[in-house]
């Protein structure tokens, strides 16, 4: 009975607080609606009007759907997400400043309203103020799309997922601010904490990762920002990432852990805020903090980020281990002093605060120690060949001039990646060669200096093992650290590079149907240029010749003949892969048209069959189309009778 009365009271108090707060947010909601309107539907209206005007003035058709999507891709991350985050900050200050002033605390904490209802009602009203303008303006944008007859299917997926993401991250960011507000003693500290954590946390992880990558052999230096740790405590930065990825046409929201993390963290943050607020001391208002954990965390993160930044800047400037440590000390001590001055309102507690600096030093020493000793065997871990299903392989400089480093399959318009086809090694004997190369790399690097030291080098050798149990082991090495006159290494690389599997996989010419080539631009040895539109048979001959030459050449010798070479550039068109073809197997279930972006081909003495074919058909002679006609040709081949063109330009 008692608990029922209590829960009824709480509900009543919550609703009462919510309604009261909401009533006082109407002005802000109207303002937010207006701002979102200016930055989303209005931008689309302007973009559509502009496109219509260009269409009318120039007499050709701009794809309105594409224009709409392009505007959306720019506006969503740049304006809508930014505006939402700005609103989160404004609302947080307005909603929670009451708990940071002694006078207002006297009023609110003496009211017959529980703290859960006080905070909960405010949070709910702010969420409404945040979300309603967003949803309204997204709906208005749909209306704009309908008015301009934009194909909804073109952008609906991206549009809805973006809306969902912005809504989620607005909530997550607001919950994060709520948590910081409860932990902070003043609104100034709250804002500073929010800003500092959001900037320095990703920076700390990023720089830590880069530092580890520069020390530990084999560690991946490539940054995947959709990986949870980079922005785990930084909702403001995380808000942008999937939108930016989406705008760039990549698989935007594919990271389930990323999404899950923010869903879970949002719940944890608001639950923690509500829990802590119940025990928050009223007398903490106007003091430095109510709960010390964020302050301690922020000081550590800021110190670490600035320390690592200083270390890397000094190291890249002076290129020595000593400069790394000097930079680390300079950056971290400055950050620590600034953090203490801000949080302590001066330097009174500076001396005592160095205990916390000591914690940072211990943590860094542990981190550095782990890195230089190989991160608990990370450096020497080499999978057994029999457990490997296949290896995505790149061998650095040996394949620099060949188009065999993997390729992208894109959608019809070249905006979205359908598949990435890497160079892979599957056969057991070839996998053993890769493992042998890996073993040699590990031995060579370790023999050059252990414990390791920080080194600035470009990792060009990539070995990604896909294990039979489904796991993946990734290792990246800098060949320039060991390959200088190292015959054992060169030999091991050659063994892998010269396998047919290595040459064929990841080479688009082995999957290329001739009908995908629209035209070829040929640059001769006398600075002459020719545009070719050969017929299907000749194109097939050309592709076969290139494949044969590639197979017969030794990859590691590819640099030997670079003078007096012919250069081929391919212009492709979108096609639907023939059922059962190799290309169709690569795209899997995708049923739309696809394009390949083919690299330029240097045709030197390593390509005798290709050269012979070019000579046989006289493609370097003057009978071909002038380069200035290339663009016209492109337009023509999309619409005109192709056989007529073939008669004109190809022998």
């Amino acid at each position: 009975m008692t608990s029922k009365i209590s829960s009824n009271n709480l509900r009543g108090e919550l609703i009462q607080t919510f309604l009261w707060e909401l009533r006082h947010r109407f002005g802000l909601i109207a303002l937010f609606c207006g701002l979102h309107f200016v930055t989303l539907p209005l931008v689309e209206i302007l973009a559509m009007n502009n496109a219509q005007r260009i269409n009318m003035e120039n007499g050709y058709m701009i794809d309105m759907s594409q224009r709409f999507l392009n505007a959306l891709s720019v506006v969503l991350p740049l304006c809508t997400a930014s505006l939402s985050l700005l609103m989160v900050l404004i609302l947080s200050v307005l909603a929670f400043q009451y708990m940071h002033q002694k006078r207002s605390v006297d009023l609110f904490h003496s009211l017959p309203v529980s703290r859960s209802a006080l905070l909960g009602g405010r949070v709910l009203s702010c969420l409404v103020a945040l979300l309603i303008p967003l949803v309204l303006n997204f709906a208005l944008t749909l209306v704009v799309a309908a008015v301009y007859q934009v194909a909804l299917s073109e952008f609906m997926g991206f549009f809805l997922v973006s809306l969902g993401w912005i809504l989620l991250m607005a909530c997550a960011s607001f919950f994060f601010c709520s948590f910081m507000a409860v932990c902070s003693g003043t609104t100034f500290d709250m804002v500073i904490s929010i800003v500092v954590v959001n900037i320095t946390y990703p920076l700390m992880i990023l720089l830590g990762r880069v530092t580890a990558g520069m020390i530990i052999p084999g560690m991946n230096m490539n940054i995947d920002f959709q990986s949870v740790p980079y922005t785990a405590l930084s909702p403001f930065v995380a808000s942008y990432l999937p939108l930016i990825y989406g705008s760039l046409g990549e698989e935007a929201f594919s990271s389930v852990p990323f999404l899950l993390w923010w869903l879970i963290l949002s719940v944890v943050m608001i639950a923690s805020a509500l829990y802590l607020y119940r025990s928050r001391k009223s007398e903490c208002a106007e003091s430095n903090y109510a709960f010390p954990i964020p302050k301690t965390l922020i000081r550590f993160v800021a110190t670490a980020a600035a320390g690592l930044a200083g270390a890397l800047v000094f190291h890249s400037t002076f290129d020595s281990s000593a400069s790394f440590f000097v930079g680390l000390f300079v950056g971290s001590i400055i950050a620590h002093i600034i953090a203490e001055a801000v949080y302590g309102r001066g330097f009174k507690g500076l001396k005592r605060s160095f205990a916390y600096y000591g914690i940072f030093l211990i943590a860094f020493a542990a981190f550095y120690g782990i890195c230089v000793t190989g991160a608990f065997g990370y450096d020497t871990k080499i999978p057994k060949a029999e457990n490997v299903s296949y290896v995505e392989t790149r061998l650095g400089h040996v394949d620099a001039s060949y188009p065999t480093r993997g390729f992208n399959i894109m959608d019809e318009k070249g905006n979205r990646q359908i598949a990435w086809i890497p160079q892979t090694v599957r056969k057991a004997e070839n996998v053993e060669k890769v493992v042998a190369l890996h073993t040699l790399l590990v031995e060579e690097i370790r023999s050059k200096g252990y414990p390791y030291r920080i080194q600035d080098s470009y990792t060009d050798v990539q070995l990604i093992y896909h294990m039979k149990d489904g796991s993946v082991i990734k290792r990246y090495f800098a060949s320039d650290l060991i390959s200088n006159h190292n015959n054992r290494y060169e030999e091991a690389v050659k063994k892998v590079a010269d396998t047919n599997e290595y040459k064929i996989s990841g080479n688009p010419f082995y999957y290329l149907p001739p009908e995908m080539i629209e035209s070829i631009q040929l640059y001769g040895t006398k600075d002459d240029e020719h545009v070719l539109v050969p017929d299907r048979e000749k194109l097939q001959e050309l592709i076969d010749a290139i494949k044969l030459d590639m197979q017969q050449s030794a990859e590691s010798d590819s640099y030997k003949n670079v003078d007096r070479q012919i250069w081929l550039e391919f212009r492709t068109r979108a096609i639907t892969p023939a059922p059962g073809s190799e290309l169709q197997k690569l795209v899997g279930n995708y049923t739309g048209k696809i394009t390949l972006s083919l690299p330029g081909m240097p045709i030197n003495d390593d390509f005798p069959h290709t050269k012979a074919l070019i000579e046989k058909y006289g493609w370097t002679e003057d009978s071909s189309v002038s380069p200035t006609a290339a663009s016209d040709l492109h337009a023509a081949t999309t619409s005109a009778d192709k056989s007529a063109i073939r008669l004109t330009v190809a022998n």
């Binding site: 009462q16 006297d106 904490h109 017959p112 703290r115 001391k281 009223s282 007398e283």
Partner: protein
Amino acid sequence: MIEVKSLVKKFGSTVALDGISFTIGGGSVFGLVGSNGAGKSTLLRSLAGIYRPENGEILVDGQAPFENSAVKSRLFFISDYPYFFQQASMKEMADFYSKTYTSWDAQRYQELCSLFPLDTNARIINMSKGMQRQVALINALSVRPSYLLLDEIFDGLDPVMRQLLKKLVSSEVSERGMSAVIASHNLRELEDLCDHVGLMHKGGVIFEQELDTLKLGIHRVQAVFKPVPAQDAFQGLDIIKQDSRGSLLNLVIRGQREEILEKLNALNPVFIELLPLTLEEVFISEMEVAGYDIENILK
């Protein structure tokens, strides 16, 4: 009834309330007096459920007020610097309280507004300190609280408003049985209004008594002796303060009037007179006993 039992409240290493205990009965006006930093405001905030005690307990009608909406709905606290929403008018504040307190009495609010010379549409932030307190008081009394907690409420009020305040509080106490706890340094006003008084110093309660009993239990004595008896002769009297000018003795003595007279008359004074003490004089005397070095401070 408010019961305070061994209440301890600390701010970091500072002990603001050091195990104090007392009881405030229903339908009374309890005056809290004490030196600066004695813990009066802290006690009021603890009573209002703003502060959570570290130790001991506060019971308002048998329940602790901290995070207890049911208890808080019977309490109203006006702090030493009352807070109002930014740019709010009296009407808006009244609207807020009417939605927050179920006991809000709109008719009473109108009555009170007519008593105080205030513009209900004016921004409170533009009002004087005294007027802001009047606004706070109107809201407080419109809530019809069972317990009214007032911190330095007389500050900034003109004499007429002080009289009105005392009249309103007295009538609420007599008509509805409301209890009021008033912390103030204005002992003259408290003397008029309070029936009980508690004296606080350095986080402790020196005494807590009915005001009449307190005043009847302490006396200023002016007596002339020829010759002045030795100090031993005054043994048996609870002398709080003593000074002499020749044969004239000024004494502040705790005890019943008759008992004091009897003992002093036994020493054959040439002249003797017992005068009542004002609350301020009682305060100063008791504070001196408690170690408040008044003479040095006032030097």
